[in-house]
């Protein structure tokens, strides 16, 4: 019996110990299917790759909520970085106005959300998370964006008194109103994202919910500070060049810490990828 090269290649996605134990059985099943079909199938190969990656990811024990959080952080970094790069190019260090006035916000959001949805669907699909989790992951990002970027904007404004804060809010609201085509997608995204985030939080166990909330609060602080430093549209006295590196480092450290935390956490459920009982 010879196995088509396509399947042999796809089977490499499986962890070595699983492959060593189950490959003969899998190949026999594939061969019977090919006989009935009249040849190897791409659909079969794709399904093997998907399942193999899922088996490899499972022992890492990354819980769903952490995946959602990590993906949201990646998204924030992506959009932040894109906006930043674009502004560097457009303004070459000039002091620019608030994000609502920025010409690139719309396109940055569209590009970022598009990339994120693709990323979320791929990531969560490959890891065999239920559709509910995949949809929530795709929807939860806009709210993360709104929550993370707003405090940065307030910090950036360099407020010194309550009157000034009020002035700023009125000014920003007015700017949003004036530039409503810019603000509309972010508003819709924030509403949908909030709804989705609340839905998923309601389904988590109290313990997981507490951890998810503390993670969101911790990363909110980190990203708010980073965002306020990472922007080149600040006056030079904010010292963005020195602090930008520090901020980026802090942000990356926060992501690394969260991922490490996820890897160390006990696995939920008692799924095992080995089948000693069958031996």
């Amino acid at each position: 019996m010879s196995t088509p090269r396509l399947y042999r290649f796809a089977l490499r996605a499986y962890p070595a110990d699983y492959r060593a134990e189950r490959a003969p059985e899998l190949m026999a099943t594939l061969a019977e299917g090919d006989e009935a079909r009249g040849g190897p199938s791409l659909r079969e190969a794709a399904s093997l790759v998907r399942r193999g990656i899922a088996l490899r990811a499972r022992p890492l024990g990354v819980p769903d909520w952490l995946l959602v959080g990590a993906a949201a952080l990646v998204m924030v970094a992506f959009v932040g970085g894109f906006t930043w790069a674009e502004r560097v190019f457009l303004f070459r260090g000039e002091a620019a106005a608030f994000a609502t006035d920025g010409p690139g916000l719309w396109s940055a959001l569209a590009l970022g959300v598009g990339a994120y949805v693709a990323l979320a669907v791929l990531l969560f699909g490959v890891l065999e998370r239920p559709r509910r989790i995949r949809v929530t992951a795709a929807l939860a990002t806009p709210v993360a964006l709104a929550v993370f970027i707003a405090p940065g904007a307030i910090l950036r404004a360099g407020l010194s008194s309550p009157e000034e804060l009020l002035d700023r809010i009125v000014w920003m609201a007015e700017a949003c109103f004036r530039n409503w085509p810019h603000a509309l997608p972010a508003t819709i995204a924030a509403v949908v994202g909030t709804w989705a985030a609340l839905k998923v939080l309601a389904r988590l166990s109290p313990d997981t919910r507490r951890r998810a909330l503390s993670m969101i609060l911790a990363s909110l602080g980190a990203v708010a500070v980073t965002q306020s430093w990472l922007r080149p549209d600040l006056p030079a006295e904010y010292g963005q060049s020195a602090f930008a590196d520090l901020g980026t480092a802090a942000f990356l450290a926060a992501i690394a810490m969260l991922l490490a935390l996820g890897a160390l956490m006990p696995r939920h459920g008692s799924r095992s990828c080995k089948h000693r009982r069958l031996g």
Partner: protein, 107 residues
């Protein structure tokens, strides 16, 4: 319970089957709608084995190929019948005769 899981369990209700046997039976039982791939089938079998809803039931060599058989456990049979009952009740919700009867009662 996913569609794949449901049809794997349903396929095993009449006795033990090997991998490709389950794929064929599931497709037949579902009227062609459940076309399981090998990757999906073994994903479902791994999960169902962990939950003790199916168990290994011997193996043999046929034409130089390994055939490993699976059978449903009592828990597995209970789980799939429970799911079938749940779906039967859910289907009744859109049954025209039942809807008409309920409306008559409300008047």
């Amino acid at each position: 319970m996913s569609e794949a899981t449901y049809y794997v369990l349903a396929a095993l209700l009449d006795g033990r089957l090997h991998g490709y046997g389950i794929i064929k039976k599931a497709e037949k039982l579902s009227g062609g709608s459940a076309k399981l791939t090998t990757g999906t089938l073994y994903g479902a079998l791994d999960r169902l084995s962990d939950q003790r809803l199916v168990e290994p039931a011997g193996e043999e060599q046929v034409e130089g190929r390994l055939r490993r058989y699976y059978r449903i456990t009592d828990d597995g049979a209970e789980a799939v019948r429970g799911e079938a009952e749940r779906m039967r009740r859910a289907a009744r919700a859109v049954n025209p005769a039942r809807r008409a009867a309920l409306q008559g009662g409300a008047r």
